[in-house]
């Protein structure tokens, strides 16, 4: 009986059940706070036709950019995809579909999806291409559009420390979309830097309660930096 021990010991076990044409929600902002090993596992499984919901699509050869190499992604739901030549090429060839979504709307779509709210009104995007074809409604004299929430077959999440219950904390700005992603997966997989003993994390410091988490694996992270800028550079 595993009880509340959600720790698995292989990436195969972490991602078992992922099939072609599924929707995967991934945490991360740029290359910060991405579940590196889980992405690599999806590449290894060569699952095709995926819809991937993530703020960005990595860079060439790293992060979610890896899944473009064998054309595993059918559709990307993101706010910004400008860091990736292969992405550009597949998009222009029509091999990849992209649904550009304002960053705050994307975060709220995940949050709402995980919270059982099917849609919400937001002023973001009203009167722009994002609002086209969407229901519009006025509240207190201001225009809003209706945005539908997102859930995924899988959510892949990067956390800093977790206990075996799945209670976890994130580190610095590697938090970003991860807590919302964690709530919005039918199966949520956590890749963490460290497993700690239950009780080691104070209950009041937990960012994501274990109820949202199905599987946990300890990963090794490269933590690549996209733009290393030093204080000495900015003084020039």
């Amino acid at each position: 009986m595993a009880g509340f021990n959600k720790v698995v010991d292989s990436y195969e076990a972490a991602m078992v059940g992922l099939k072609d044409n599924m929707t995967v929600i991934a945490g991360g902002f740029g290359l910060c706070g991405i579940p590196e090993g889980l992405i690599a596992q999806i590449k290894k499984m060569n699952t095709k036709g995926l819809t991937v919901v993530s703020n960005n699509c990595g860079v060439d050869g790293f992060g979610l950019g890896l899944l473009l190499e064998e054309k595993q992604i059918k559709k990307m739901v993101s706010s910004y995809v400008g860091e990736n030549a292969l992405f550009e090429q597949q998009l222009l060839n029509g091999e990849l579909e992209v649904e550009l979504t304002p960053q705050g709307t994307l975060a709220e779509k995940m949050r709402a999806g995980g919270a059982g709210i099917p849609a919400f009104y937001t002023a973001t995007g009203f009167g722009t291409p994002v609002g086209e074809g969407k229901e519009a409604r006025k509240f207190n004299g201001r225009d809003y559009i209706l945005e539908e929430s997102i859930t995924g077959d899988f959510a892949i999440v990067k956390a800093y420390k977790a206990d075996r219950y799945g209670n976890c904390i994130y580190r610095h700005t590697a938090q970003n979309f991860n807590p919302m992603a964690a709530t919005a997966g039918k199966i949520t997989v956590l890749e963490v830097e460290e497993i700690v003993e239950p009780g080691e994390l104070s209950p009041s410091e937990i960012h994501t309660p274990g109820i949202y988490v199905d599987r946990i694996i300890v990963g090794k992270f490269e933590k690549r930096i996209e733009r290393k800028i030093l204080s000495s550079d900015s003084n020039q």
């Binding site: 902002f29 550009l100 705050g104 709307t105 973001t124 291409p129 938090q175 979309f177 991860n178 204080s231």
Partner: protein, 218 residues
Amino acid sequence: MSLSREQIAMRVAQEFGDGHYINLGIGIPTLAANYVADDIEVMLQSENGLLGMGPYPTEEQVDADMINAGKETVTAATGASIFNSAESFAMIRGGHVDLTVLGAFEVDCFGNIASWMIPGKLIKGMGGAMDLVAGAQNIIVTMTHADKHGHSKLLAQCTLPLTGVNCIDKIITDLAVLEVKDGAFHLVERAPGVSVDEIQSKTAGKLVVSENVPEMMF
């Protein structure tokens, strides 16, 4: 003389009020953080989840888990807080950020802004810009007054797909400071040595000019 990027940033920083929470977009707006007056305190919000953005790190301080919305390495200032993306945009969308400064391709005299998409060119995405212009109390656009071919970016009506409607209050360009109200650009200040005529000739939308337009002070 038209202003340099640094001079535009210096003029932007004059808009910062004591105790303001401010979101600065990539490019010239970010440069404005270098010119915050000594006698005021502001908090910079970075929409990836940091309130209280500090300077760039030293080599020893570099931390891959500590970046800004431009994906640059950064530090946290004293009094900073870090949170998730939904929380970050709750403060933006909820109107808690006092001032947003961002770049644009075009602004029109109804306060509409186009900043994310040029049809026929590659579309990279809007990032957080649509949420920011929909949420902030006060939005300033920084850009050059005209493009490199001399075409005005201050139009009667935006031609590019919009980022937001009726949301821009003020524009700071390399030539002038303008306010947007009542369907017109109102010339507030001109760059040192730049004539009203030059500004007029490079403003395609309706421009209202009062009798005396002062030069910017630095």
